[in-house]
Symmetry: C2
Subunit: 297 residues, 2 copies
């Protein structure tokens, strides 16, 4: 069935009757980097007033949920930590709920503070990450990270702009232990930043995956590990849940693979209406998230 472009008050009101739960991708939907998309805040506030369940998902693993709420506050939105599912949080909860790694096991992190903060919040002792001793040049005889710690039970890896040979070498030593779990926050090959395309989490992780001959368990969109965690955590009725995003191959696929009641593509990100119509994967299309609040009036 071809996607339906929503352009009238009646269509929006019907949509808000058909769905109770709204899962939002953030970048390209609510904001573009540090710039909020016009009307997006008002549309989210409308959903809050209508007592809809709102969840924000993001594959950006460099920030924790707490750090994300600060960004929402800056834009004038009242969002709690429990409403945000970042890929760092998804990886941490996967480790706790699905892998069931005991809390007396340590976790080695290749990644930034978002991952460290989420793992610590769940009670895991964390090594690696942004530890400044890892900024030193790698030498086998002087690194304080060898020999490896036998109490490490998992490697959690994500985007790390502090990546260097020291971090990669120690991470590899842990991955060479077959009993150590290997979890990726997400495997996006790139991400856009201010007009540039930069290496994403998946590209950084690929180094140690190739070196170790292992494949990580991926937690971010479009992996259903993330959606299953959300549905379980929030006790959602999938048929009354809608995914809103700006990318067909991650956001819309994320919702369709998870058998959600609906998917809504916004055109404020990288996708074009023409391509979305051709692919036919979203159920609905809207020019901008701002249209929901605007048309509802």
């Amino acid at each position: 069935m071809a996607p339906v472009k929503l352009t009238t008050k009646e269509e929006i009101r019907q949509l808000l009757q058909d769905y109770d739960n709204f899962i939002f991708d953030c970048d390209g939907v609510i904001w573009l980097g540090d710039h909020v998309i016009p009307g997006a805040v008002e549309s989210i506030k409308l959903l809050q007033e209508l007592n809809k369940t709102i969840i924000f998902v993001t594959n950006n693993s460099t920030k924790s949920r707490r750090q994300y709420t600060e960004k929402f506050t800056k834009f004038g939105l009242d969002v709690t930590k429990d409403e945000v599912f970042g890929s760092a949080y998804a990886a941490a909860t996967y480790l706790e709920k699905f892998t069931k790694l005991p809390k007396d096991k340590k976790v080695w992190v290749l990644g930034e503070s978002g991952i460290v903060e989420e793992l610590t919040a769940l009670g895991y002792q964390v090594m690696g990450g942004g530890d400044p001793r890892l900024n030193e040049k790698f030498h086998k005889d002087t690194t304080p990270f060898l020999p490896i710690d036998p109490s490490v039970g998992a490697v959690v890896a994500g985007l790390d702009t502090g990546v260097n040979y020291h971090r990669l070498s120690i991470t590899l030593q842990y991955l060479r232990q077959p009993e150590v779990e290997f979890i990726a926050t997400n495997i996006d090959s790139t991400f856009p930043q201010k007009g540039l395309i930069l290496p994403g989490a998946g590209s950084i992780i690929e180094t140690v995956a190739y070196a170790s001959g292992r494949k990580p368990i991926a937690c971010g969109k479009p992996s259903q590990n993330m959606l299953n965690a959300i549905v379980k955590d929030k006790n959602l009725d999938r048929s009354r849940t809608m995914m809103i995003g700006d990318r067909l191959n991650t956001d819309i696929r994320f919702g369709n693979d998870g058998n959600l009641g609906g998917t809504l593509l916004v055109l404020t990100g990288i996708e074009t209406e023409e391509n979305a119509m051709k692919q036919g994967t979203p159920k609905y299309i809207v020019n901008s998230l701002g249209d929901i609040g605007e048309l509802y009036k």
Copy 2:
């Protein structure tokens, strides 16, 4: 045909009659890191006295041929630059002889001084590599490497223990230009160093390959690009040429894929005689390179 284990004076003398050219892998054959293998130097000197053509090959791209000759000198061997084929040299000559990149094009290097030195020796202007400005944290607005230089015609990538997000990000910008060639010195996933297994050239390169969705042309063993370059450069009769190495899946495969007259496995590296007999790929096996000089007497 099962491999023949060489253990007698007659067998060695026959071998030296049957072959004019000897291609040596270095690590695990002549030395183990900084330790020379007993008798190896004497065996190579014997071949030199018999006027054999000798070529040393290595996938280590961090050293140039000139830097390698210094290592041979340290061990008491008189070896010239022309007798050494490192993967950095192989990549540089591939660019010149096969890709035919014009000399007024620049080359962006993700790798160490060996690559930079070999490219410079061939007359290419090089950017990137160990440039200290790339040690700074990456910021789009402050990096002196953006916008990218339109005169760059190729990326040459190899092992880089100075790898960081700045180097990866700029390398990706060049690889996103489809007309820019993508050459890898080698794609070894790991290499051994003092009892550790560390990330190899292939693992570092995998980052930017995954991010760009491109696959590099690989030059090191077992790629035939390297052997073709040697045979062409030295005008060798393949049937009178023998490959000597310590690894079945790189060295011995390198010789067999290239239809060389013979392959000889030494047992001073990582391979066992039992496994070599089972696989059956080398034509000959000898305990150590030292045995050639020892048994010849």
